[in-house]
Every structure is written in C-alpha cells, then in structure tokens.
C-alpha cells in the first residue's frame, strides 16, 4: 500500500481528498502507479499523460521507470504557480 499526497487541482479532482491510498505491490514503477491513478481518476490521469501533473518520489520529480518502494513519499504535483508576476 502506498500513500500519494495530492495538492492544488489534483486534490480538487480527487473530490478534495488530501491523499490517495493505492495497493501498489513491490517492484512496481512510477508508470504502474500512474496507470492505477488513471483508472480511478481519469481527469488526473489525463493531466499525468500530458505531463501537466508530475509525480514526485521522496521530494524529487520522478522518472516513469523509477521503482516505488514501501515507505516512499509520493506526491502528485500540478503546475507550480508560486510567487507573483
């Protein structure tokens, strides 16, 4: 089981949940995680496919082939908009 933290519009698209709990087994990769999210939340899946939403693992942007391990800190990051003009 892995926990995925949600922020900004991804949180909204998941019905205002702050986290998702997914039954991801050992040896699975970021792309498998993306496929699971896509199945459950097609709108978030679309943004992941377009790379508008990125996956971070342990606070770094992750490649789709990165292996996800139990206890990893995973998050979905919508486009950043910090600061001001």
């Amino acid at each position: 089981m892995v926990t995925v933290r949600l922020f900004g519009m991804t949180k909204m698209l998941a019905g205002n949940q702050g986290t998702l709990s997914l039954a991801l087994h050992d040896g699975k990769r970021v792309k498998d995680l993306v496929a699971m999210i896509e199945a459950a939340y097609p709108k978030i899946g679309e943004l992941l496919q377009k790379k508008k939403v990125l996956v971070s693992v342990n606070q770094d942007i992750a490649h789709e082939d990165l292996e996800v391990k139990a206890g990893d800190e995973i998050a979905l990051l919508p486009p950043f908009a910090g600061g001001s003009r």
Partner: protein
C-alpha cells in the same frame, strides 16, 4: 527553528542560516529581513530585492484574495537549493528567500528575495535568477478567489 535542523547534506545549520530560507504563514517585515542579510557580511555593498505582492486582477478578471498551498518539506528543500545555487553560481555574499502560504489579501506580501553582493550588477542578476527559478521548481500553488468562484492557477507568467 532549532539548532538541530539539518540540511540535505546533514550539515547542521545555524539559527541565522535557517531564517534565510523560510516558508511561513505570517507576514514579514522587509526591514527586519534586510537587516538579517546585511549583518551576514560587512563586504556587502549592493543589495537587490524582489517583493511579490497580491494583485487584484488576473488575466482580466477581478481577484478578491489568494490562497497559497505548499508541499511542506519539498518547498523548503527547493528554496534552500535556490539559495545554495545562487551563492555558488553568482558572485553574491548572501541571499534570503521567503515565501508565504495560506490566505493572502490583495496588496499583501507574498514572496521576498534579497540578494547581497559587493556590487549591484551581481545582486540584480542573482535576484532575478532566484525569483525566476523559484517559479519553475518550487511546489507552491495558487488558488485565486474571484467573484465567479475559485481557480487554481496553472501557468506562471
């Protein structure tokens, strides 16, 4: 901030250093932050500052207030990286990077960058680089409250 706080490299940082990179809910005093940078070195001869404030218009629409959400931990890590890279890649002596989160009223402070160098040119250059980089790599999101509803801002200018 405590003395036990550690950076990515597990090097202890002093209280003063920890105060140079912050994500906080409260407003900040520009004078106080300027003093914090100035007292780091007597060699500073030029200081450039960027202050971002909350606008009441966005893409032609009225904005009543803004809420900033951040990824606790990663946001601080990215801001520390910006300061460290600025100190390494530019001829600056000190840099402060500060961002607020939570609900911010129109006209209030959002983000502050202060770059202190021997001379103005490097201070300006580092300051501009830091705010541009902040927008690219820092996990902070902006929710605009408008008369028509709430909008998560997707693109930074």
């Amino acid at each position: 901030m405590s003395l036990e706080q550690v950076t990515k490299a597990d090097q202890p940082v002093t209280d003063d250093e920890a105060m140079l990179v912050r994500v906080q809910r409260e407003d900040f005093s520009i004078d106080e932050e300027l003093r914090r940078v100035r007292r780091r070195s007597k060699r500073i001869g030029g200081i450039a500052m960027f202050l971002g404030t909350a606008r009441d218009r966005s893409k032609g629409k009225d904005v009543d207030s803004i809420t900033f959400e951040h990824y606790e931990g990663m946001a601080q890590k990215k801001l520390r990286e910006i300061r460290e890279r600025a100190l390494k890649d530019f001829d600056v002596i000190e840099m402060l990077v500060l961002h607020r989160y939570g609900e911010i009223d129109i006209g209030e402070n959002i983000v502050l960058i202060i770059a202190g160098a021997e001379h103005r040119a490097e201070a300006f250059r580092a300051c501009k680089w830091a705010i541009d980089e902040l927008k690219q790599i820092t996990p902070i999101w902006k929710l605009e409250h408008t008369p028509e509803g709430e909008v998560w801002v997707e693109e930074h200018p």
